[in-house]
């Protein structure tokens, strides 16, 4: 039972990317940061009451599923696309979508191309080890175009190639493209083409067969979304817990009833998670949003109330 193991260990072991701007990287003090990293911290806060009680395991595309299935990590929070075969054959459970992404193309404005349909004959830098290669191959094939793939293992290396014009376009999830563009010397000289050629719902994974643990991870993420809906932030969550009269806030924060107990958690589990990383919106804008160096719009990841897809089932 994973929850027991985590409690006993006193730490959550969380698999993350070895380095992907906005999602997972280390700062100058050696502290992990990023969107995927924050998910881990939220789960750690919910289960252990301490958002710092996480051990991060950097994983490559190749090693991530083995690490999960062998029990080396408790959660895999590493921009992993939810697909049918992964959910079934690889014996992993996706517990929800934290980020709706799609594969796009980054290109120099100077090239003068407006649509991905004009990319015939282009050299394309791809970050390997993901679904990207398959999407790309299908896209070009179905449009009757040819291309020259340059598969690169690490995003940093791929960007280097793109910047030196070793390839004409860089394809990856649009979030990664935006992250890359933001770090360029002159971001305005590059654009992301309008076509998004795939659906890339990213989210944390757990092993098959531990339903309670899957529920904990899934509902922790949902709690963060709900918190944004309910206007709870890392600053006001304590105050709201004491003062709020909204019934759903009470249920979520454990002041009204004990939802946590149903899942083996403490009553204040959601409160701890929100206090640790903030609500979904805070997390987004801190790591990826327009105020961050990455500068992404919410887009599909806006709350459903704002025309996005982020939607939390009711807490009751």
């Amino acid at each position: 039972d994973t929850l027991e193991t985590v409690r006993e260990r006193g730490r959550l072991v969380c698999g993350v990317n070895t380095g992907l701007a906005g999602f997972s990287y280390t700062d100058s003090k050696g502290e992990w940061a990023g969107f995927d990293v924050d998910i881990c911290r939220a789960v750690a806060a919910a289960t252990l009451g301490d958002g710092d009680a996480v051990e991060f395991v950097p994983l490559t595309g190749k090693t991530r599923f083995t690490a999960l299935s062998s029990g080396e990590i408790d959660i895999l929070s590493r921009n992993t696309t939810w697909t049918y075969s992964r959910d079934t054959e690889l014996a992993a459970d996706f517990t929800g979508t934290t980020y709706y992404d799609g594969q796009g193309f980054l290109i120099r404005k100077a090239v003068g191309i407006e649509s991905a349909k004009d990319l015939d004959g282009a050299t394309v830098c791809i970050q390997t080890g993901t679904t990207t290669e398959l999407n790309l191959s299908e896209f070009f094939l179905s449009n009757g175009m040819s291309y020259e793939p340059v598969p690169i293992e690490s995003p940093a290396e791929a960007q280097q190639q793109y910047l030196a014009q070793s390839c004409d376009v860089y394809t990856a999830d649009t979030s990664a493209l935006a992250a890359a563009r933001s770090s360029f010397a002159d971001p305005t000289a590059h654009m992301i083409l309008p076509e998004v050629i795939s659906k890339e719902p990213l989210g944390p994974l757990v092993r098959h067969g531990d339903d309670r643990w899957a529920d904990i991870v899934g509902w922790t993420v949902r709690a963060l979304v709900a918190a944004e809906e309910l206007g709870l932030t890392s600053e006001n969550v304590d105050e709201q817990a004491a003062a709020s009269k909204v019934p759903e806030v009470g249920r979520l924060l454990g002041t009204d009833g004990d939802l946590g107990a149903m899942n083996g958690l403490s009553a204040g589990w959601a409160r701890d998670a929100i206090a640790a990383v903030g609500n979904y919106g805070e997390m987004f804008s801190r790591n990826l949003g327009t105020d961050s160096p990455i500068g992404l719009e919410r887009g599909l990841n806006a709350l459903w109330t704002n025309g996005g897809l982020q939607y939390a089932p009711p807490f009751r």
């Binding site: 380095g19 701007a21 906005g22 029990g71 290396e157 933001s182």
Partner: protein
Amino acid sequence: MPAPSFCRTETIAPRPAPEARSGLAGRLAEIRRRGPLQAAVSLLSIGVLVWIVWTVLSWSLSDTWSANSLSQCREILADHRHKACWGVIRERWLQILIGFYPRDLMWRPILAFGLLVPGLAWLLRVKAPPGGRKWGFVPFAVAPYLLWGGPVAPVLSAVLAGLAAWLAYRCGARAWLALCVAVATFAAAHALPVSGDVGLAPVTGREFGGFLLSVVIGLCAIVFSLPLGIALALGRTSRLPLLRLVSTGFIEFIRGVPLITLLFVASTLLNIFLPPGTNFDIVLRVIIMVTLFAAAYVAEVVRGALSAVPRGQTEGAASLGLAYWQTQRLIVLPQALRISIPGIVSTFISVFKDTTLVSVIGLLDPLGLANNIRADSAWTGIAWEIYGFVAVLFFALCFAMSQYSMWLERQLRTDHR
């Protein structure tokens, strides 16, 4: 014809050599003597060297030490784009050196290496120092504990057990009896109600990184591969066909596949070969694999040295009544190991360089960290500075070691005891 005859009556005293034409004039004369082609080659070689130094210097001399991000560097450098941005090294050098090792515990790796380096030097001396090489092993026992930490009780029990076994052995007990004593002491000490938490704060392998990781993997590999390699070498030269077959197969298998595939095995497959549910530190798994890898190469070095020990030595030992193991331990191995020290040092250098491959399976060694740092949006797009820094560090260490091994080789060649 009458032979001319001559007899010297007084001897000629030695005179000092005529002043060899030195300085520029001498050089020029020498060049003239050698002809224009050689002169051209010399000039070209000097030109290439100067050009390399000039290129490197003009790139690296840039006033960017204080920059906090690549964009700041770009501002500082303005239009001299082809210059280094050193801010990243100022900000991250410690991380590149020790990875994520807790900063407040830094004294531990420093102390550990302060012990290990003299220990290694002691072990690898040409002549066995008085009292044997055994004291050189002490740091290897202490250093891992310093690095990984954890409760001190099992370590103490192990030390006690070792002491007891040694005492028993000195008092004439057979090897197996000493082993029993060791086990018993360990069990007894373990059963004592010592507080389990006393000891250094534990640090997991995952927190190792950067050079610390490379050095730890490299050192562990070489230290553990030494006994394993010796065993394999003995196996390969054994008279038992089965043992020979197994050792040869193992050695050739390991030497036949790239280290990368072994590392894949460590990262993705090792758990599959072990009982269900086993699961241990990836760093430990990598160390195991690199150890096996190094052992195969050490085995080949030692095998060469074993065959360099004359057959007469074993015969001499046999005629004195020494048994097989006594002969190996007292006569053959001491001589073989002494011969193989330079080879072992070379193996160590290449294993140490090969530790960079762990970045391919996602460990944050200096190269893995380079990637990670480049994911920080402040430093995206930086490459040369980090690679250069890492290259210089590797060069310094490996060059020092290779010089040492060459020196050793010279010592061994002139050492006619």
